[in-house]
Subunit: 201 residues, 2 copies
DNA sequence: TCTATGAGACGAGACGTTCCGTCTTGACAC
DNA sequence: GTGTCAAGACGGAACGTCTCGTCTCATAGA
């Protein structure tokens, strides 16, 4: 019974201000103290403008983070492929470690993850818009390695990806251990041992 | 300047009622709708009694979950050790899958994890009281396997544990894929391939 | 041994505050 | 004119603090 708003008339300026304010406030005060009213005040925007375009706080955070990813360098789509799988993976994993340590990233990513844990719809949206494409790029790199005989040809790439990334992700999310470049390297090495092709077949 | 309350005079009955109410309310309405006032009302307890003994909602959830673990069968301390590492691990991993699927566990564990993501103090408490002891039991089993020559003697057991459990945990927490007994088995198999001793040394 | 007294935890709930999500207003743009 | 905008008033929910009067229990005086 309610009219959906007309996106053509949406103020891009306000949209940007809201996403920027959300990102800044998370970084400054943490997710627990983030409020819609705070975002509106910081952005110089009416609360209704936020409620008109986003269904939940989680959705705002998601878009804020999505904008951050999209505005960044277009490196997310393709991973390095020098032919040396071990070296390439170590570069990527070390980069991931560095990214997790960046305070500007850490706050929003933590907030988004916390929201996702209790919101299946947001989890699906995340997989579709953010996680999915990145995972596809990673799997493409692994497929190349399979063709080059560096990885077992019958390996389950979803499982492979989880094997490689989940330990890193868990250590960061639950703060269960130090996140160092050496750890990233060790993870790559044990991953390769698990997934390398069988000598005899 | 404030006096800490005297634990000797604490009402065990109220404590139990609060933890039980917290658990029931999470299971019934989800974590998002859980309130301190709701817990107090359900438990037949004054709000101050909660605030007197717990610093945060997360701490209440933590204790509620801790009590659940402690009251359960005393199976958490030792893992099966039949000598067959692969079979033993599959039993444990399949049990973990089943536990994650149990609605009575799922709600509180998700709530606790969400809280932990944004609360380093709670994360530390979790590791000390819940995660740590369980991990030690798991590592003890892996050490036995090392002695039996079933696992690389120089393997980093912290890394090994993460390799085995983090993919399972991530799939459940982020709902990024189906959690089946077959998946648990596949995980064990690839884990063993990664961690088995080198033939030549 | 008996009692009474004081400290402190208890259930109950009032209180001011913050934030929620909705609604109203007037300005401005298309 | 119609619809979005900034600003903010509004009622409701939950917060965390507080003040009641009741209770339990350990200590001490009789």
């Amino acid at each position: 019974m309610v009219k959906p708003p007309n996106p053509a008339r949406r103020s891009e300026h306000s949209r940007q201000a809201i996403l920027t304010a959300a990102r800044e406030l998370i970084a400054e005060m943490g997710y627990a103290k983030l409020t819609i009213e705070g975002i509106a005040a910081r952005a110089g925007v009416g609360k209704q403008t936020i409620y008109r375009w986003w269904p939940s706080k989680g959705a705002v955070i998601f878009d804020a983070f999505l904008a951050l990813s999209e505005s960044g360098p277009e490196q997310g789509v393709a991973l390095p492929d020098t032919g040396d799988l071990e070296a390439d993976l170590k570069v990527v994993m070390r980069a991931t470690v560095a990214e997790f340590a960046d305070p500007a990233f850490e706050g929003p990513i933590r907030a988004l993850n916390a929201e996702i844990v209790n919101d299946p719809a947001l989890a699906a949206q995340y997989r579709e818009k953010l996680g999915g494409p990145v995972d596809e790029a990673k799997k493409a790199r692994l497929r190349n390695a399979q063709r080059a005989g560096q990885l077992a040809a019958d390996a389950d790439l979803d499982l492979a990806l989880e094997l490689l990334y989940a330990p890193l992700y868990q250590r960061w999310l639950l703060r269960s251990g130090p996140l160092t470049p050496e750890y990233a390297d060790a993870l790559v090495e044990v991953f390769l041992k698990a997934m390398r092709p069988d000598v005899v077949r």
